[in-house]
Symmetry: C2
Subunit: 211 residues, 2 copies
Amino acid sequence: MLGELGEQGADTVSSDELAAATGVNPAKLRKDLSYIGSYGIRGVGYEVSALTHQLERVLGLNHRQAVALVGIGNLGHALAGYGGFDGRGFPVTALFDVDPDLVGIHINGILVQDVAAIPEVCRARDVTIGMITTPGPAAQGVCDLLVEAGVRCILNFAPVVLQVPGEVEVRKVDLAVELQILAFHVARRNLTGGDPESNGHVVNGAGGLKP
Amino acid sequence: MLGELGEQGADTVSSDELAAATGVNPAKLRKDLSYIGSYGIRGVGYEVSALTHQLERVLGLNHRQAVALVGIGNLGHALAGYGGFDGRGFPVTALFDVDPDLVGIHINGILVQDVAAIPEVCRARDVTIGMITTPGPAAQGVCDLLVEAGVRCILNFAPVVLQVPGEVEVRKVDLAVELQILAFHVARRNLTGGDPESNGHVVNGAGGLKP
DNA sequence: CCGTGTGAACCCCTTCACAGCT
DNA sequence: AGCTGTGAAGGGGTTCACACGG
């Protein structure tokens, strides 16, 4: 959001404005920002460019990180061609699959190589993040290869819980689960008969089950 | 995980087994399950099939829900062809885009139609969930059309915060943000010099910033 | 006067530990 | 003997409200 504001030529933002734009509580926003230091100006707000730079520094976004993508199925193919990653500092630098029909082709100018080459190629290209878009059963094996290659961060789209050493960070994205969560809210709403709870800005809200 | 266990022929599971398999605290698992009723057997565990059915009922997964997908770019194309949705009860039933070159083609046997047809088609096919995979600037307009069509649940992949009426539920998935979160953990680890915190089973952990 | 920064209250989720059932 | 179900303790994030500074 700060990036957007910067492009629009805004010099400063107040926590209230930023909170409204992102759907967050203003107090929480200020408190969170305060943890990285006092970069706001009382009575005015935050200087957009200064805050952006500070955040990038603290969040580790100030240098690009090469990404390897394993599993060139439907989803993998799409992610390999997705411009959003490179634009945000995460260039997709290596592609892997087991299928001999896929190995050798290029996507967006990047060669698809056999998974056996993961350790060597990832080290050579300084890959720090791996994305797994294989079928479930193949995911753990691929994960092990990535770890062997020194990759410490893994974004897992396969519907399995990966076992990794402690120094490796795994995040799991399960798109079908996202739909299930939405379905749950439908079910709950039909059950309770439309509670007048939320209004206008619900993003990933909780919604308990307790009576 | 229960579905998997059922296919493997397991009759019962203990909370400890289930917790280990899913990477969750056993007590939390029991407490959560207790909210939907007492379907466990003391000294034995949970009957897999019974628990599965109860969960499906409570979570609203016992009947299929039609999904509409708007924005047939890289990601949209992949999701339209992704088998994981239909397999979990969320058949992709309608596809939309603005691009005249895309309107008229079929993906997985489903016709791509113009976004202007959203209200009519979604009502006709009883679509309850909408997925938005358009570029950011187009997302709000598409969202409005879906809401007009009576869609109450939206899964948003576009990097914008959608404005919706209170009765509509929005979940946002930002894949670049997922990578940023991983990047943050790298940065933090490099900063603190490898704290001996996590071990073996970290999935979507928090990791604060406070001193 | 306005908006940040923050102590304190609050709330809720998480985890422990064990009573109770099979 | 084993495992569920849960009261109670604990911890941590969220929100309030206001002092402080521009």
